[in-house]
Amino acid sequence: MPLLWIVIAVLVLGTIGYVLGRRRAMASAEGDARSLHSLPNYYGLNVLLFAVVPALLVLSVWLLVQPVVIQRQVVNMIPDTAAQSAGELSLVMSDVRRVADGLDRAVELGALSREDARTIRTEFTNVRDRLASIGVALGDEVSSDVLRAAQRYRVLKTTGTIAMDAVVLLLAAIGLGYAYARTHKELRARNVVERAVLSLLILASTIAILTTVGIVLSMIIETRDFFRLYPWQQFFFGTQWIPSFEGGSELGLIPLLWGTIYITFIALVVSVPLGLFSAVYLAEYASSRLRSVAKPMIEILAGIPTIVYGLFALITVGPMLRDYFAQPLGLGTSSASVATAGIVMGIMLIPFVSSLSDDIINAVPQSLRDGSYGLGATKSETVKQVILPAALPGIVGAVLLATSRGIGETMIVVLGAGAAARLSLNPFEAMTTVTVKIVGQLTGDTDFSSPEALVAFALGLTLFAITLGLNVLALFIVRKYREEYE
């Protein structure tokens, strides 16, 4: 683990810098901490930061850039005849990497000398057998181009790593020396250190932005590739979902979207009345004892992982619905069905609806209730005619959030809804959703240049856009129509 060692080396340098800086500051103040500008520790930290931060920054940038540069250099060595398309090129490159790793391993185990690994040629040796003998399995016979590319790759990688180590250590030493030389009792060490800490804090808070950018970029790039291979009209308006990895697949979004919407609709039919009624009861009627028991019980439902709901759908709810409803009514024989997934998802969504609504109902001021009672309304009339209208925007927001949660839900539908893409109205039939197909197309060994795998990114982007739209809409409704009470 050479990377770990270089990091440790930098940290050790930093620690040495800390001790030296602190000592030098104390010496410049002749041992009297009162004449220093900052507390002695800040002088040490100042040196430590100068030694560690630039070195580690360069290290991480280098680690990101080096593979790209090496890739460029090596790709040029592969003749155009060996790889026509981008997909083939990436396959050849992964071969190159595997051969290079194999050579590394051979050198490590002593099966090849360093010199041999650099000069070995396919014309004289069967590289595949040599590598197989030390447990590195290669799929194809190694062509001489690939071997040369792999050797070049190794050389570049080794020199790159050595250069990186040298640069990083040098930088750490320079930083240490510079900060050490500047250390003096007049130096405003605390201000420097605090500015550095502040920029670390800012850096940490930009991670959220970086994540969003990463999500959007990664999906947009792959989706663009997908739409190059597959027309977007057929994706958005196609009514057939028949993927086949031999090519000629039909990848229409409509049946997946239908399944998603149907299941989410059933989930809402279950969860909105249940959630709303329990929220109203807990807020308006329940004694504090019932509330203290029932509220946490319902909130436990929100803490249960979705895989557990999925298992519940698979082993309990699915067979129950099939045996007591679908088969007697002659509606279907499948235990995985829209109704199964919808009902279980509805149970999962109860706490989302109820605890959000509970907060909103509690925010309606008591004076509104008192006014209603004063006019002679019963409690339920107050709830129906005063409280719910006042809380409506918040409740609509809560329902929209629950919808977005349901649309993005994966494990319940993977285990409860089935995998057959169809457009049907029968709730006891198996249907499938966008999320199920994302999982289906991306699990296992996938070739990332085929439309069948890339379609998952287009599905992901669609999903992301829909849920984002719902969340923004929910936020907008809550903000726009919220009643401001004194």
Binding site: M1, L4, E194, S205, A208, P305, R405, G460
Partner: protein, 446 residues
């Protein structure tokens, strides 16, 4: 006056409820009942879920074993006779299997247990396919065992095990090509003779996964370790980053567009479907950065990004709960803004931050969908090495293991999946209880 009232009775009276009031009162009762029913259904659903998982899963914690003396004949296991582990490792599990079958056969004969209707092959099939492999491993570890007769406890086949747990019955065995009623009767006789017994199954917690034909040997060891490694990564990354981001946003950030952008981003990330994070992990960490598939480090990174919003929201709430007087007092005594935050505000907010972190970790522990996309579904039997190298080894994770087992054909895996869910839920209950205790003990009301 008095006769006027007697002649024309008043239409309404407080003493007599009118129809309209009755109707309104009835609707009031109806409303109440509806509310109670809704709560009742919610609680009943929770109860049904827990009962169904426990009812299906508790059997995974018990396993049927066959205990017999086995003679480890030297000419079979060590043909050269020099007890060299390398040479002995050339004898595969196929060399060990007949040994077990032979021992079982002779032992049953000695004990006068009738093997009516059970052929030697069928007798062999009552032993788990895992048993020879286990015996081989222990023999290779202790070559001096060869030539001796040892008391061996070996796993019974999954169907036989299912018979003692009520999953397999005589009626279902008639229809099942993998087991016959005669085998079950023999198993019953063996159990009566004390050769076969069902007892607590530690192997379920410690063993790695096993292939589809041997559900009786499948365990959660690798998955628990993988989940633990991922939680380490999440804790090491999400806690410092989340706390740093919250401190900036709550204490230092000026009111401007940049701050607004961050805040909007954080609240959006909290609502992004988890599977989208899986796509991100696949595209960036695996395809772009070239990190290995199925590795805890990738899972940990993805879960970190998912957990960050939870931790940031909790941390900001507890930073906000620290009264301004603390900050003012520190500033008044000459501390810098940074010192007031790090020396005074942060320690006071720590219990709330830790509670939020534990709840975030609990969420991350149960998350499945993103892990499916980064290759965690792979069948992994090797335990990962110790960290840090182990973070790059392929592993599984608890919730993914549940998913994995639901995809297998043998119904015994339903029991395993439910058992794994029980383990997962126990971990979650433990973590949430810890969060509650932390909050109760250290939370301060100002």
């Amino acid at each position: 006056m008095s006769d006027a009232t007697a002649e024309t009775p008043r239409k309404s009276s407080l003493y007599r409820t009118s129809d309209r009031v009755k109707r309104r009162n009835r609707s009031e009762v109806r409303f109440r009942v509806l509310g109670l029913t809704a709560i009742g259904i919610g609680v009943a659903a929770l109860a049904l879920l827990v009962i169904s998982i426990i009812g299906n899963g508790y059997n995974a914690f018990r396993q049927t074993y066959i205990s017999i003396p086995v003679e480890l004949t030297a000419d079979r296991l060590d043909p050269d006779g020099n007890r060299d582990a390398d040479e002995m490792s050339r004898v595969t599990t196929f060399g060990y299997a007949p040994l077990l079958a032979q021992s079982l056969y002779t032992y049953l004969q000695d004990q006068d247990i009738s093997m009516e209707g059970v052929s030697p092959q069928a007798l062999m099939a009552m032993i788990s396919q895992e048993a020879p492999a286990q015996l081989r491993r222990s023999v290779l570890d202790n070559p001096e065992m060869v030539g001796q007769t040892v008391d061996l406890e070996m796993l019974a086949n999954g169907r036989i095990d299912g018979y003692f747990k009520g999953r397999v019955t005589m009626a279902s065995a008639e229809l099942d090509s993998n087991v016959t009623p005669a085998q079950l009767q023999l198993a019953q006789r063996m159990a009566d003779a004390g050769i076969m017994a069902t007892r607590f199954n530690w192997a379920f917690i410690t063993n790695p996964d096993a292939s589809g034909q041997r559900p009786e040997a499948a365990g959660l060891g690798v998955a628990i370790l993988g989940s633990f490694y991922m939680m380490l990564v999440v804790l090491a990354l999400a806690l410092p980053i989340g706390v740093a981001a919250s401190i900036y946003l709550e204490e230092f950030a000026p009111q401007n567009r940049f701050t607004d952008a961050i805040e909007v981003n954080i609240s959006n990330l909290a609502a992004v479907p988890s599977i989208v994070f899986g796509i991100l992990g696949l595209a960036i960490f695996i395809n772009f950065a070239g990190l290995p598939q199925s590795a805890p480090v990738v899972g940990g990174l993805v879960l970190t990004l998912m957990t960050l919003p939870t931790i940031i929201i909790a941390t900001r709430a507890s930073l906000r709960a620290v009264p301004p007087s603390i900050r003012d007092a520190a500033l008044g005594l000459g501390a810098s803004k940074m010192q007031s935050v790090f020396h005074h505000v942060l320690p006071l907010a720590m219990p709330g931050i830790l509670t939020g972190t534990i709840i975030g970790l609990a969420q991350a522990l149960g998350e499945t969908a993103p892990l499916l996309l980064i290759g965690m579904v792979a069948f992994v039997r090797e335990f990962p090495a110790a960290p840090p190298e182990g973070l790059f080894d392929p592993t599984s994770a608890l919730p993914v293991q549940v998913y994995n087992w639901t995809q297998r054909a043998d119904p015994a895996f339903v029991e395993r999946a439910s058992g794994a869910t029980i383990v997962l839920l126990l971990f979650l209950v433990f973590m949430n209880a810890m969060a509650v205790i932390l909050r109760r003990r250290f939370e301060r009301r100002w």
